[in-house]
């Protein structure tokens, strides 16, 4: 069941088309990756969802209701371009931002206390923001994004500026939020984290959606029937190991081990390859090469045309 839906969104700036008939569908309690090269239109779409700007055409639904001003308090948004008032005290500022999201002062204080303790930054409550490290500021920012228990969360490059330990802390929190019922839209260029976190993705390039679906399905779809074999005990030509029709895509070796990457003909199975090789070499590893989201991203974007550079 989808919680968030954008239908046929089109947005124009002068002659430039920022979004061209883009639709996305985010199931409830899932993490949705919104991907695309710089300037593809992701930020525009995110701003439309946040009602910072409006679409020229198309409609948006949240929980089956048409998006309206009252939904502002249900959405938590961590923008890519983010910051805090430098001269303002951390606690005061968090309180202000929480109240802007519709929390009462007492509720906001209670919740902030909980999160500040959880993120171990309560000692900074009365410090000015400019005294905080970047990572620390990011934590404050994350807290104020989720403080009002939004049902729809939008994270735009949430991990930038965090060290690996805090990235993990954040990932856990994001998964927790999903566990607790939030629907999450996640925009990033970090494809590893997409594979790790996202259930579904949509890929936007040059204002158009060019790919969408479950991460698993997409990866299966982009499989190329390629396998890697690690072996030793054979010093001859690697090509001679392979049955006819199989292609040697790559070959590497170090002192102990050789690795070949083999492309299979369409009808063949991996067992044919295994059978052919097994008798001649000592196999250490045999695995299917599954395309990473990174590969898929680059491949799809390149196929759909060059990067657009207009933002």
């Amino acid at each position: 069941m989808s919680y968030f839906e954008a239908r046929n969104i089109t947005k124009r700036y002068d002659a430039h088309l920022a979004l061209d008939n883009v639709s996305i569908d985010v199931p409830e309690q899932s993490i949705f990756g919104l991907l695309g090269p710089n300037g593809a239109g992701k930020t525009t779409l995110i701003r439309i969802i946040n009602q910072i700007t409006g679409p020229d055409e198309g409609e948006i639904f949240i929980g089956n209701e048409k998006l309206s001003q009252k939904h502002v308090d249900k959405i938590g948004y961590l923008p890519e371009e983010r910051g805090l008032y430098k001269k303002m005290k951390v606690g005061e500022q968090a309180l202000y931002l929480a109240q802007l999201k519709g929390l009462s002062k007492t509720d906001a204080l209670k919740k902030l206390k909980y999160w500040f303790e959880k993120f171990e930054i309560q000692a900074w409550w009365n410090r000015k923001v400019e005294e905080l490290s970047k990572g620390m500021q990011q934590k404050v920012q994350f807290i104020v994004t989720i403080i009002h228990d939004p049902t729809l969360l939008i994270f735009d490059e949430p991990f930038s500026g965090f060290d690996p330990i805090n990235v993990n802390l954040l990932k856990d929190e994001i998964l927790n939020l999903k566990q607790n019922g939030a629907t999450i839209i996640f925009s990033t260029h970090n494809m590893a984290s997409v594979e790790e976190l996202c259930d579904n993705i949509a890929l936007i390039n040059k204002s158009k959606k060019i790919l969408e679906g479950r991460v698993k399905d997409i990866k299966t779809k982009y499989k190329t029937n390629t396998y890697a074999i690690d072996f030793d005990g054979f010093t001859g030509e690697a090509r001679s190991l392979l049955p006819a029709g199989f292609s040697l895509l790559n070959e590497t070796s170090d002192e102990e081990m050789r690795q070949i990457i083999v492309g299979l003909p369409t009808q063949s199975t991996q067992n044919e390859l295994l059978n052919a090789v097994m008798s001649k070499v000592n196999i250490h590893a045999f695995k299917e090469i599954i395309p990473t989201m990174n590969d898929i991203f680059i491949k799809t974007v390149n196929e759909s045309g060059n990067f657009s550079e207009i933002s």
Binding site: N50, I52, I75, L78, E81, L100
Partner: protein, 469 residues
């Protein structure tokens, strides 16, 4: 809307708590009080009695001016040219010339002197003349009323009917007299030029400069606030919670309230300092005992009291004379117009400054947009200096009607008395213009705050006006 209040509150508190605000709040009144006190001190320093000659063609004011420790009044009965020559020969301080009015009661006088005439002398002359004229008018009005009430009986009025029953507000308004006092400075070669020590001029110019200063100071605070939000990138977080227009208006209103707070504190503290000074040095700054009768703010009901207050005690100190002079201006109107033009002008320019802040990435980029916005302001303050010479002329008229200069120029004109239709027109235009400016600024602001790292041209700004939300 609750959220705009939150924004206003933050903008207000974060500024009021700043050290610079507190320092300004304390320094301002000290400077202003010094402006009051120092000239009086200086004029007290010379204790020689100055000789002032009165040439009164009307005969209304013979022996009404009373000698004090600083001025001795002599009455001359020659023609003006002789009196002027005599003044120079006798090295008198000043010559007051009260011409015979063509039709009605005397309402103007000229002061000839080869020096700048001190402000307390002018205040005193204005005061004596005004009160004498008002007194006469009041007497005539009371006679008329009494004759209406009991025809044929014009004796023993004071016993039978107290003046308070007769003197209506309307009469008080009718008898209100504005004395035009023109100072003419006589040069060596008999050249004459107008001088600027007129209280109306000082008050008007002061109010105009104050408005100019406030608009600049707080307008640019709005601009810096917008740039700060843009540079620190907090703006995108905030506009996901409040509409850009709310954020902009919240900031403009919040900063405006800071300005009003500062102004109020200045007035209060200045009055406190001046009052304390009067108490501490009672010899020089005698406390004023007479009540100011004709200001609409504290109109007193009884005409008798009004008459009483017209009696000027002989040993009135300079401070009192100056206060009298200052009080000859209608303060209710002044304060109302000041607040109106301050708010109107501030909203107009504040909105434009906010739009500029939104269009640029940092303060150094503001130059190209600042110029056209500040030119009318600077023009206003330049024109103000012409206007004090000629508050009725076409320049004064047009610049006090055009909304971009009216907050300054109209403020300069108001102490001189401006026809109400002109004030109404100017105020209406100002309101219309600031509503338009706020609307346009809102459009530019909305687009601008989310544009990073882009040099924006005027053409671009124009396009932003037509972007859909």
């Amino acid at each position: 809307m609750n959220k705009i209040l939150l924004v206003i509150q933050r903008e207000y508190l974060s500024r009021v708590r700043k050290k610079s605000f507190i320092v300004m709040t304390i320094l301002g009144p000290i400077l202003m009080a010094a402006l009051f006190i120092v000239p009086i001190f200086l004029s007290q320093m010379s204790d020689e009695v100055k000789q002032v000659e009165i040439l009164d063609e009307t005969g209304w004011f013979i022996n009404k001016f009373e000698d004090s420790e600083r001025f001795r009044f002599d009455y001359v009965y020659t023609d003006l040219e002789t009196a002027k020559t005599n003044l120079l020969i006798e090295k008198g301080y000043a010559l007051v010339y009260i011409p015979k009015p063509e039709v009605s009661v005397p309402s103007s006088a000229m002061i000839f002197s080869d020096k700048q005439v001190s402000i307390d002398l002018k205040g005193y002359i204005r005061n004596v003349m005004g009160k004498e004229v008002e007194n006469q008018k009041l007497g005539a009005e009371i006679m008329k009323e009494i004759q209406k009430v009991s025809p044929g009986n014009d004796t023993g009025i004071q016993e039978n009917i107290s003046a308070g029953n007769i003197v209506s507000d309307e009469i008080l308004k009718n008898i209100k007299t504005n004395i035009t006092l023109t100072s003419i400075k006589m040069g060596e070669a008999g050249k004459e030029e107008k001088s600027f020590t007129e209280v109306s001029m000082v008050v008007g110019l002061f109010a105009g400069i104050l408005i100019y200063f406030f608009i600049f100071l707080f307008g640019s605070q709005v601009m810096r606030g917008v740039i700060e939000e843009k540079v620190s990138r907090i703006v995108e977080v905030i506009v996901s919670s409040v509409k850009p227009f709310q954020l902009m208006m919240g900031k403009i209103i919040g900063v405006g309230l800071v300005g009003l707070t500062q102004f109020m504190l200045w007035v209060l503290l200045t009055l406190t300092i001046v009052t304390v000074f009067q108490q501490v040095m009672p010899d020089k700054f005698k406390k004023q005992e007479t009540v100011e009768s004709f200001s609409p703010g504290k109109r007193i009901p009884a005409g008798a009291e009004a008459i009483q207050s017209m009696e000027i005690s002989k040993d009135q100190g300079s401070m009192e004379r100056m206060i009298d002079a200052i009080q000859s201006i209608n303060y209710g109107v002044m304060i109302f117009s000041f607040l109106f033009y301050f708010l109107g002008g501030y909203l107009l320019y504040g909105a434009m400054f906010a739009a500029i802040g939104a269009a640029v990435d940092n303060e150094t980029d503001t130059q190209q947009f600042m110029m056209p916005v500040t030119i009318p302001l600077i023009l206003g303050i330049l024109v103000a200096q012409f206007v004090i010479n000629n508050p009725e002329g076409p320049i004064a008229f047009w610049f006090s009607i055009i909304p971009f200069t009216s907050p300054i120029v109209m403020m300069v004109r108001i102490p001189f008395g401006v026809p109400s239709w002109e004030v109404a027109l100017s105020m209406a235009l100002l309101v219309i213009t600031f509503v338009g400016a706020v609307w346009m600024a809102g459009k530019i602001y909305r687009t601008g705050i989310l544009m990073y790292g882009k040099k924006v041209s005027w053409g671009e700004l124009w396009k932003w006006l037509f972007y859909k939300a």
